[in-house]
């Protein structure tokens, strides 16, 4: 078995299928907008692997997704490389959306820019967009954004949950008064997401909030950290991406900022981000909504069926299965399959299309019991989506780097500050509805 693969495993598999004469069976098309190259590739690779491996594992283990015994449809993963570039993302979308037989069932754009591109297209093409926590936060309002789903928690929910965590660490939310909290953010739409929420929370709790922008790509952050050294904030939050994370963590270590008072967003909390600093970054915190590690039955099946079975897209990744971003791709795939399964049940057919999958998402309910059945007990939070609330729980856990691996340290998950967040969501989604002549539907 060659360890290195230039050719898609799917090709050989497809040939085999054709030879066996079973071609023409219904398949569930999952477009995978990966970015395995470009400045953000280190983050894109683990996610893309996790996302693809889960579907492949279901194909190999269960023969795809089954409505009932013997009535199954396999997943057909269509990879398309976006380089985290919006224009390439649009090309990928247009290329894959009509892929036979089912057409693209749901898109996971994995970039703020591409998500914004797809939002108006989704309703026209009748394909739901599952922007897992990223993209347009106010898409949470299902009455306006019928086709967009952003469970399990948005950036705004996360910002408010992180503030709650800080409140706990300070011995009560009322102790935040007079504290200084800085936000170090990637100067882009993504990085600026939490600012309004944090400003509103600063007003509510009486802490002092300051944003420090870091320009793309963020290799040079000396001045930002000089400011932090001078102003000595009590807490530093970080909305970083790509190389910015690694440099920021190194700089924090350099100026001896207490690492356990430095919290990253969930895109700033992976193995990649702390690896260049290693042991020295011990204590660094980040948000998350799932566990890390490969000790779950689902992971064991992935190793067994996908990697040992020679079906992996990236065979060299075997030792890294279970990394934070890998698990994030996996959890995205898990919710996606559950939504498709729900859609199959609702419409009593395996031949689902994008519009059915939308219904599936809107009735998605993955509770603890279901997670256990899937071999992912305790892996993530239960998610229940309704017509009105496309975000679901909005809860966030805190994980910490212990020098070797990431571990969840918060007791349970933090609830967002619904009062503040919902007000902002209402404001933004209503403006969008007004600008685009959308009449919010009734729920």
């Amino acid at each position: 078995m060659p360890r290195f693969r230039l050719m898609k495993p799917a090709t050989t598999a497809a040939l085999a299928v054709m030879a066996a004469g079973t071609a023409g069976a219904y398949e569930l098309v999952i477009p995978a907008l990966d970015f395995r190259t470009g400045p953000y590739a280190p983050n894109g690779i683990p996610f893309a692997n996790g996302y693809a491996d889960y579907f492949t594992m279901l194909n190999e283990r269960d023969g795809g997704l089954c409505l009932k015994e013997g009535e199954c449809a396999k997943f057909k993963i269509v990879h398309c490389e976006t380089e985290y570039n919006t224009q390439k993302g649009v090309e990928c979308y247009e290329k894959t959306k009509g892929e036979p037989p089912s057409g693209g069932l749901v898109y996971q754009p994995l970039s703020t820019g591409i998500t914004y591109q797809l939002i108006p297209k989704a309703s026209v093409d009748e394909i739901p967009v599952f922007s897992m926590g990223y993209g347009r936060t106010s898409a949470t309002n299902g009455r306006v954004f019928k086709w967009i789903f952003n469970p399990p928690a948005t950036y705004w929910s996360q910002a408010s949950a992180l503030i709650k965590y800080i409140g706990d660490r300070e011995g009560g939310i009322e102790n935040l008064k007079g504290k200084k909290i800085h936000l170090l953010y990637h100067n882009s739409a993504y990085g600026r997401e939490p600012i309004r929420t944090l400003e509103a929370l600063a007003k509510k709790h009486g802490f002092e909030f300051n944003g420090i922008a870091v320009d793309h790509p963020g290799q040079e952050q000396k001045s930002a950290w000089l400011r932090i050294r001078r102003e000595r904030p009590d807490w530093v939050l970080m909305w970083g991406w790509g190389v910015m994370n690694q440099v920021a963590i190194k700089e924090a270590v350099s100026i001896r900022y207490p690492m356990d008072r430095f919290i990253g967003v969930w895109w700033s909390g992976s193995e990649n981000d702390v690896r260049p600093s290693g042991e020295a970054a011990k204590g660094y915190l980040s948000g998350t909504f799932h566990a890390r590690g490969a000790d779950f039955p689902a992971h064991r099946d992935i190793i067994k069926y996908v990697y040992d079975g020679g079906k992996a897209v990236d065979p060299a990744f075997k030792d890294r299965v279970g990394e934070v971003l890998y698990n994030r791709g996996l959890v995205a795939a898990m919710w996606t399959t559950e939504a498709i399964r729900t859609a199959m049940k609702m419409h009593n057919t395996i031949e689902v299309r994008g519009k059915h999958v939308r219904d599936g998402f809107e009735n998605l309910d993955v509770d603890e019991a279901r997670l256990k059945e899937l071999g992912l007990e305790g892996f993530t939070i239960p998610v229940k989506i309704t017509c009105e609330n496309h975000e679901g729980p909005g809860k966030v856990a805190i994980q910490q780097w212990d020098g070797k691996s990431w571990n969840i340290v918060s007791e349970g998950y933090y609830e967002p500050d619904r009062e503040v967040v919902n007000r902002l969501i209402k404001e933004d989604s209503e403006k969008y509805a007004k600008d685009n002549n959308i009449t919010p539907r009734d729920c």
Partner: protein, 358 residues
């Protein structure tokens, strides 16, 4: 044989001065335009529109704008993407402020605003030359992108950093937003590009174009001959930015529908447009479009060949695509430094005699 101008006599100055003095050229251009206007809209698919035709038209126009500045006037600029951004944000703001405004007027106004901004950033060109100027235009690139993020008014105070195009109609046909038909968008973009390209073709052979070329070939000599460098250079910056601004406005309203400062208008886009004019041919209008077609189509063709036909993994194909693109660019520069337009020229000369070269 096919391309023989023997027997085409000019009997008036007007005929001698026509844009396409040779009948075959004229018929060819008319044929292409008829095909583009009357045939393509009937079989256009969303994929063709969004992945090929609209990008081609938008980048073709932007390349034309840059070619006026770099190819005709000799001023190297690396700030094209930021000027496209100025066009995009201006069109957004205009559409929000005046929802009833006709889309074509929005484009033209956005172009004018960009022209004004371009002329301001063109001022240093009077003193700074060559690569020093190129790097100085990067100041515009970085400053403007920073401003797009910084200035909330420009984004209509949206909570997010993104701008999304409001729905609007053109002559009663929905043109932007989710209801717009790809064919309608394509036709509007095509009409804009056709008119502006003909305008450019005329401009570059008139007084302005000649003064630009004089400056390009040797600015000191041009000055001595009575061409005012201030007027020539600033007009080149102005006209070039106008075209680039309209391209940016079309990119945002017709093609993408949503945009973000650094993502859509980052420096890599500036380089892409520069590639287009060099591969297409510096100082030719046709070359701008050939270059745009080449660089829009090439990655798609490479990707489809390598991934769909040869069955490579997407990531391997992507990395190989980089290598192939680089090799192609270098190969082009070695084999034909004057670009695709020159190849076209050579082909036409060959066609004169073909198929009986002796």
């Amino acid at each position: 044989m096919l391309y023989r101008e023997v027997g085409q006599f000019k009997t008036s100055y007007a005929a001698d001065q026509a844009i396409f003095p040779i009948a075959q050229d004229r018929w060819f251009v008319i044929g292409v335009l008829l095909f583009a206007f009357l045939v393509v809209p009937f079989f256009i698919t969303p994929y063709m529109a969004n992945a090929i035709l609209l990008p081609f038209l938008v980048f073709g126009l932007a390349a034309l704008g840059l070619n006026i500045l770099t190819g005709y006037c000799g001023q190297l600029s690396l700030g094209t993407a930021a000027f496209m951004g100025v066009g995009a944000y201006s069109s957004f703001k205009l559409m929000v402020l005046f929802p009833e405004l006709n889309l074509v007027i929005v484009f033209l106004l956005a172009g004018l605003i960009t022209a004004a901004v371009g002329m301001v950033f063109g001022l240093p060109s009077l003193r700074i030359k060559g690569f020093y100027l190129a790097v100085a235009t990067l100041a515009a690139q970085f400053f403007l992108v920073w401003l797009f993020y910084k200035w909330d008014w420009l984004r209509d105070y949206s909570l997010t950093g993104q701008i999304t195009v409001p729905p609007s109609d053109f002559l009663g046909v929905p043109m932007t937003g989710s209801r717009a038909d790809p064919a309608a968008k394509y036709l509007l973009a095509l009409a804009m590009v056709t008119v502006l390209a003909l305008g450019a073709k005329n401009l570059v052979r008139g007084r302005f174009g000649r003064s630009w070329m004089a400056i390009r070939d040797m600015d000191v000599a041009a000055e001595l001959m009575g061409i005012r460098p201030l007027a020539a250079k600033l007009s080149a910056f102005g006209v070039s930015s106008f075209y680039v601004g309209v391209a940016g406005a079309m990119m945002f309203t017709l093609w993408l529908g949503a945009a973000e400062g650094g993502d859509s208008f980052g420096i890599q886009t500036s380089f892409l447009v520069l590639f287009m004019i060099i591969i297409g041919g510096l100082g030719t209008v046709l070359g701008s479009f050939l270059g745009a077609a080449f660089l829009v189509l090439m990655p798609i063709v490479l990707k489809n060949t390598m991934v769909d036909m040869l069955g490579m993994t997407t990531v391997f194909a992507k990395h190989l695509e980089y290598v192939v693109m680089g090799v192609l660019i270098i190969g082009f520069l070695i084999l034909e430094p004057h670009g695709l337009a020159r190849l076209w020229q050579i082909a036409k000369e060959k066609l004169r005699l073909w198929p009986f070269p002796y």
